[in-house]
Structures are given as structure tokens and as C-alpha cells.
């Protein structure tokens, strides 16, 4: 019986690790579903193509070549090395050791592990460079105002995780005496093995086992860290690019609720004093635009969870570059923070949101930020995973104007002019053609 203790222990932490992760994924989905409905299921072939190109192919990452290429190394490395997880899980559950080695034979097994080792070393180097860029070179976009202590730590914690995981993988291989003796696949670890040459076989075995355990436990912790981190993008980048907007970037949606009202107003046959039909008021939306996360649609909320806080958007935002308060990255981070707050509120109140006197507008995002946007789409263009910060800004402006009449004074004048004389300035519509005779 005692023989099975490690297997049982392994099964338990595996179940706990995956179980907690599943619980958080459910919470994540519930929170995203707090958003309004929007249909993004049309033009499927185009959507699959976008996902393949942008999420899988990382096609937009290389717009910035240095970080782009390093990121591809880490990404490919991370995915491929995790294939090794399959063996680890089987070994852990059944008490085997390198179960695939005899099945695949030394050549194939060695080839696979050899590649994993090379990748692990590359990932390690790339992650070190990332760390240097963040902390020594201090690339500006990682030091903006919204990069307060947690976002900054989060970025580094992930890097440490990857360094440790990669090291453990290599140490585990380096201290596996049989594996080193077989000499198939120890491409990198053979250079690490001599560091341990003073240890006895027994000790080496202990080190190997410890590295093995720490590696699997580390991966499970990492998996569960995702939900609290910007690293969620490694999962959400896929649905996020699939459901991203396909229309031209300049195209803003036309609010349907407004269309119905405008049509009624413009219809000469409509009776302005007519009583609304029974039940008709249910169809009128509670409000136009967005003042809180639940007024946004679910794609916008998913965007917020997907944001990697890379700051590519902010570093190309004309408003931010000229010292304005607006930062599209902050818009996404605020949306996520507020959504998390709403989610926790729901959890604490037995599944029902209890008014906390707060909202996304003002408590997180100020009108000053919103009014600084030129709608230039640079943020949308730069985002490597198809996030649309502009759509949230516009939705909140709609709320400010249509619900609160809180536009800046000059904009109110502009709108009054359009209403009265069909131009943003105070010129008579009757003078529209004067230019031809001037």
C-alpha cells in the first residue's frame, strides 16, 4: 500500500489543481456573460482565419520585431514543452518512469526530448531578455502610470515562473542518470549534468525526483495563477481573435434602439401622442451607452480579460503621447478590475449583484480620459490580439451625451449647430453652395 502513496498524492494534487482552475474558468465565463448580447457568429471562415493568423500565427506580434520574435520563441517553446506534460501525468499516476521512452524507442524519444531541451534553453534566454527589457532597459510602455505595483509585479512573476519551470525541466533531465547514460535527447542537459558530478547516484535520484515534483506542482500553480493575471491571454487570445470585429475599423455600430426611435420620430404618419403598446416599454433599453461594465457587450468584457497589458496600444495613442490622461490600456485594465469587483460582489451576495454605489464611469474611468480620444484606431491597429479599446470609449461617450447631456460645452455647440443648420459650424444651410461663386 505504502508503495502507492506518491501515486495517490499525485492524483490528489492533479485533481485539486485542475479542479480549482475549472472553478475559476466558470467564474470567468459567468463574468463575461454579464455583458450584453452581441452576435459575432457570422462570417465564420474569416473568423477562423483571423484566429489562425493572429492568435496561433502571432502575425501582429512582429509589428514590433524584437519583442515579437522573442515572444514567438516563448510561445512555441511553452506549447511544445507542455506536450511532455502528458508523460509526466502518466508517470505520476502510474508510478512509471519516462513511460514513452521504451514505447517510442530511443531515436524518436531522444529526438522529441532533445527538441524540448533546446526550446527550454531558448525560452529561458528569451525570458531573461524580457526581464531585462522590463526592469533594466525599462522600456517606456512598462512604466506608464497605470502600471502600478501589481501589474508590474504580475509581469515579472510570470517571467520568474517560466525561468524556474524551464530550469526544473533541464535539471530533471540532467540528474536522470539513465537518461544521461542513454545519451539520446540530452542535447542541453548533458552540459548541465557535470555540475552535479560530485553527487552520488542516490542523491542525484533525489534531486531528479524533487525537480520532477516541483515542475508539475509549478505548472499547476501557474495554471491557477492565470485567472488573476494578464497571462490569461494565453487562453483567451483564441476566442478573442475569433470574435473580434471584422468590419472596417472606421465603422461604428448604429444603435438599434435609437434607429427605432428616430424612425418613429421621422415617420409623418406616426402619432406622437399615441400610447405605447402594451408591453412596449419593456423593449426600450434601460439606458443608452455604458456607464458600467454590465452595459458593455460580452466581447468587450472578454477583451478586458484578454488584455496582456503590453501597452502597445497606449504607446501609439496620440492622446497619450501628448500627455493626456487617456490610455487605452488603462481603459482595458479598468474594465477588468471593475468586472472582477462586480463578480466578487455577486459571489458575496449569493449570486445577486448588490448596488455598491460604484460604476466604471467616474470611479475608474474619468470623462476627461474619454473626451481625449480622437477615434484614430491606432490602439485597435496595434493590439496584437484583436482588442478594441475604442469601442468601450465610444460606448461611454454615448452614455455621457445621451443619458447625462454631459458633453464638453464646445461639443454641445457643435451638435446644436448640426441640429439647427446641418453643419458643425454656425453657417446657414442656404449658403452651402456659395463656394462655387466665390
Amino acid at each position: 500500500m505504502e508503495k502507492y502513496v506518491p501515486n495517490i498524492f499525485f492524483a490528489l494534487i492533479l485533481i485539486a489543481g485542475i479542479g480549482y482552475f475549472v472553478m475559476n474558468v466558470r467564474k470567468l465565463i459567468r463574468n463575461i456573460k454579464l455583458g450584453k448580447d452581441i452576435d459575432r457568429t457570422d462570417r465564420k471562415p474569416e473568423r477562423w482565419k483571423n484566429m489562425a493568423k493572429i492568435a496561433l500565427g502571432q502575425y501582429k506580434m512582429v509589428r514590433r520585431p524584437v519583442s515579437g520574435i522573442l515572444h514567438i520563441v516563448v510561445y512555441v517553446g511553452f506549447i511544445l514543452i507542455n506536450i511532455e506534460m502528458l508523460e509526466i501525468v502518466i508517470d505520476g499516476l502510474f508510478g512509471t518512469h519516462r513511460v514513452f521512452q521504451p514505447i517510442l524507442g530511443d531515436t524518436i524519444y531522444g529526438f522529441l526530448i532533445g527538441n524540448f531541451e533546446v526550446l527550454a534553453a531558448l525560452v529561458f534566454v528569451a525570458v531573461i531578455i524580457f526581464w531585462l527589457r522590463r526592469n533594466i532597459q525599462r522600456v517606456k510602455r512598462f512604466w506608464s502610470k497605470e502600471m502600478t505595483s501589481w501589474p508590474k509585479n504580475d509581469g515579472n512573476i510570470i517571467l520568474y515562473f517560466e525561468m524556474v519551470l524551464m530550469s526544473l525541466f533541464l535539471i530533471m533531465n540532467a540528474t536522470d542518470v539513465n537518461f544521461q547514460e542513454a545519451g539520446a535527447g540530452n542535447v542541453v542537459s548533458q552540459f548541465i549534468a557535470p555540475w552535479f558530478s560530485s553527487f552520488s547516484h542516490e542523491e542525484l535520484h533525489t534531486i531528479e525526483k524533487t525537480a520532477w515534483w516541483l515542475h508539475i506542482v509549478g505548472i499547476l500553480i501557474f495554471l491557477n495563477y492565470l485567472y488573476y493575471s494578464k497571462h490569461l491571454h494565453i487562453l483567451l487570445a483564441f476566442p478573442n481573435t475569433f470574435f473580434a470585429k471584422l468590419d472596417p475599423k472606421g465603422q461604428l455600430d448604429n444603435l438599434e434602439a435609437v434607429t427605432n426611435e428616430v424612425k418613429m420620430m421621422m415617420d409623418p404618419d406616426a402619432d406622437p401622442y399615441a400610447m405605447p403598446e402594451e408591453g412596449a416599454e419593456d423593449e426600450v433599453p434601460a439606458k443608452f451607452g455604458a456607464s458600467d461594465v454590465t452595459d458593455l457587450n460580452w466581447v468587450q468584457l472578454m477583451n478586458a480579460y484578454t488584455c496582456t497589458e503590453c501597452g502597445r496600444c497606449t504607446s501609439s495613442c496620440p492622446a497619450n503621447l501628448t500627455g493626456k490622461e487617456l490610455s487605452p490600456r488603462k481603459i482595458m485594465m479598468d474594465t477588468r478590475d471593475r468586472l472582477e469587483e462586480v463578480g466578487k460582489n455577486i459571489d458575496a451576495n449569493g449570486g445577486e449583484f448588490k448596488d455598491d454605489g460604484k460604476q466604471l464611469l467616474n470611479d475608474y474611468i474619468s470623462p476627461e480620459e474619454l473626451w481625449a480620444c480622437t477615434s484614430c484606431n491606432a490602439c485597435v491597429q496595434e493590439c496584437p490580439i484583436g482588442i478594441d479599446p475604442l469601442s468601450i470609449i465610444m460606448e461611454m461617450r454615448r452614455y455621457l451625451v445621451m443619458e447625462e447631456s454631459a458633453a464638453p460645452q464646445e461639443l454641445n455647440m457643435m451638435m446644436t449647430n448640426i441640429e439647427n443648420n446641418g453643419a458643425p459650424w454656425q453657417y446657414s444651410q442656404m449658403d452651402r453652395l456659395n463656394w462655387k461663386d466665390e
Binding site: N377, A378, P408, M415, I418, G422
Partner: protein, 259 residues
């Protein structure tokens, strides 16, 4: 200038090949009116049978929509669509990328479906159809840089057409460090044109003008009346108005062809 309105055309029982949507800036703003006239001259030279709405044209509602006033936008849009549809307009050309974007992308959902061209696209088509050619001697060798209007570039992915036209002028074109999809906004879009900027350390148009001036140009070319205003102000702010002019591509073509 001889410009027919749709109402004139209708009275004569005629349908022009294209409607020229002049836009608010092109109708009222002194600088932008010059662009309007340059484009009319080009249309005349190519023998295009066009008309304008004149006093029946009204704001597309772009600025209102981007300011957040969806009501006003849709009122404007539906009024315009009613007029356009009553005249059975099929094809529209405009010198204003904002009107271009709104009519092309946002009007169809409200019942206004037209073939919409930005004037650089239309001019390019006229050349392809053999109806227009550009004289490449008048501006030969001039140093030119091109500022991408956001609503033409990123918003609608039109990057090459304006550049091809500039290259036909025989000029020496130099790209700014931020160009095409990475171009910096001039600062006018999203209704910013009509308000003071929020507080910050500089104005966007100045930053963008600095990008342009780095290429040491004689001419900053663009394709939007609002960008034109912003860049012109930027050049003035930088005290460079003696050395650098801001011109619309239509104006450059008119100049090259001695129109």
C-alpha cells in the same frame, strides 16, 4: 464655377454619373473650399458628369456620432439617405474621409447603400479609365511627404492609392517614420476638431507636424480637409510656413495640370 445640383439635373430629367458629396468643411471652411474647387476642376477636365446636393446636403452626422450623440447622427443620416434615395443616387465621391467612412460604412445599415469613393480613389479610377492624365513636369523634384488621414488609412485600409497619385506627380516622396497603419493622427478626429484638447504637454497636431518636418519636405500632402487644417496650424506653430505648404492631393494634381 459651373456646378449643377441634383435638383437642376432632375428638372432636366438627367442623372449624373456621380454625386459629389462636398461635406461641411468643403462647403464652408475657406481652406477646404480650395480643395473642393480643385477637385471640381479635375472632374471637369476628365469630363465627368457630376452634381452636388447644394443646399440639400446636410452634415453626415459623423462628428455627432463620434461625440456620442447617436440620436443626432441617425437623424442626420436618415434625412440624408431620404434625399439621396429620392434622387436615386448610386455613386458618391467625397474629399472628406469622415464623410467617406460614414456614408460607406454606417449608412448601409440605415438604408443608404451606395458605391462610395474617396476623391483619391475616384481620380485614380479616372486615370485607369483613360479619362485623366497627370502632368509630371510642373512639380518635378519637389520634396513631398504624405500624412495618412486616419479615416482613410486605418479606418478603411486605403494606403496605396493616394501614394500612387503622388508618385505620378514626378515629385520626390519621403515617408515619415510613422506611416500607413502606424501613422499618427493629426488630432482632429472623434469630434476633437470642434473642441479644445484636454490638458497635456503638447498638441497632437504639433507632434504630427514634427514627424512631417523630419522628412524636410516642401509639401505636406494629405487627403482630408481636417488633417489639412491641423497640419497647417502645426506648420505655423513651428514657424515653417515660409518653407512648407500643406496641400491636398487634389490641389497638387490641379496644380500639376495647370488647372
Amino acid at each position: 464655377m459651373n456646378v449643377s445640383t441634383m435638383a437642376d439635373m432632375m428638372a432636366q430629367g438627367k442623372q449624373p454619373e456621380v454625386l459629389f458629396w462636398v461635406g461641411a468643411a468643403g462647403s464652408y471652411d475657406d481652406r477646404a473650399k480650395k480643395i473642393t474647387k480643385a477637385f471640381v476642376k479635375i472632374l471637369d477636365m476628365a469630363g465627368v458628369d457630376f452634381a452636388v446636393l447644394g443646399t440639400e446636403e446636410s452634415s453626415t452626422g459623423d462628428a455627432a456620432k463620434r461625440a456620442g450623440n447617436e440620436f443626432l447622427f441617425q437623424m442626420q443620416a436618415m434625412t440624408n439617405i431620404e434625399v439621396l434615395n429620392a434622387y436615386e443616387v448610386k455613386t458618391i465621391v467625397t474629399c472628406d474621409p469622415h464623410s467617406f467612412n460614414t456614408i460607406k460604412n454606417e449608412y448601409p445599415g440605415l438604408g443608404g447603400k451606395y458605391k462610395v469613393y474617396h476623391h483619391t480613389q475616384y481620380i485614380s479610377k479616372l486615370i485607369q479609365d483613360g479619362r485623366l492624365s497627370i502632368d509630371d513636369t510642373n512639380l518635378k523634384g519637389k520634396r513631398v511627404t504624405y500624412h495618412d488621414p486616419c479615416y482613410l488609412g486605418r479606418a478603411n485600409d486605403v494606403y496605396e492609392t493616394p501614394r500612387q497619385l503622388i508618385n505620378r506627380l514626378g515629385v520626390k516622396m519621403t515617408e515619415m517614420k510613422r506611416n500607413k497603419s502606424t501613422a499618427l493622427c493629426c488630432g482632429a478626429g472623434g469630434a476633437q476638431m470642434f473642441k479644445e484638447p484636454e490638458k497635456g504637454d503638447m498638441d497632437i497636431n504639433v507632434l504630427r507636424t514634427e514627424d512631417a518636418l523630419e522628412t524636410n519636405p516642401q509639401i505636406i500632402a494629405t487627403g482630408c480637409p481636417y488633417c489639412n487644417t491641423m497640419m497647417t496650424d502645426g506648420v505655423k506653430f513651428k514657424l515653417k510656413e515660409d518653407q512648407v505648404v500643406v496641400k491636398d492631393i487634389a490641389e497638387l494634381i490641379a496644380e500639376a495640370n495647370n488647372l
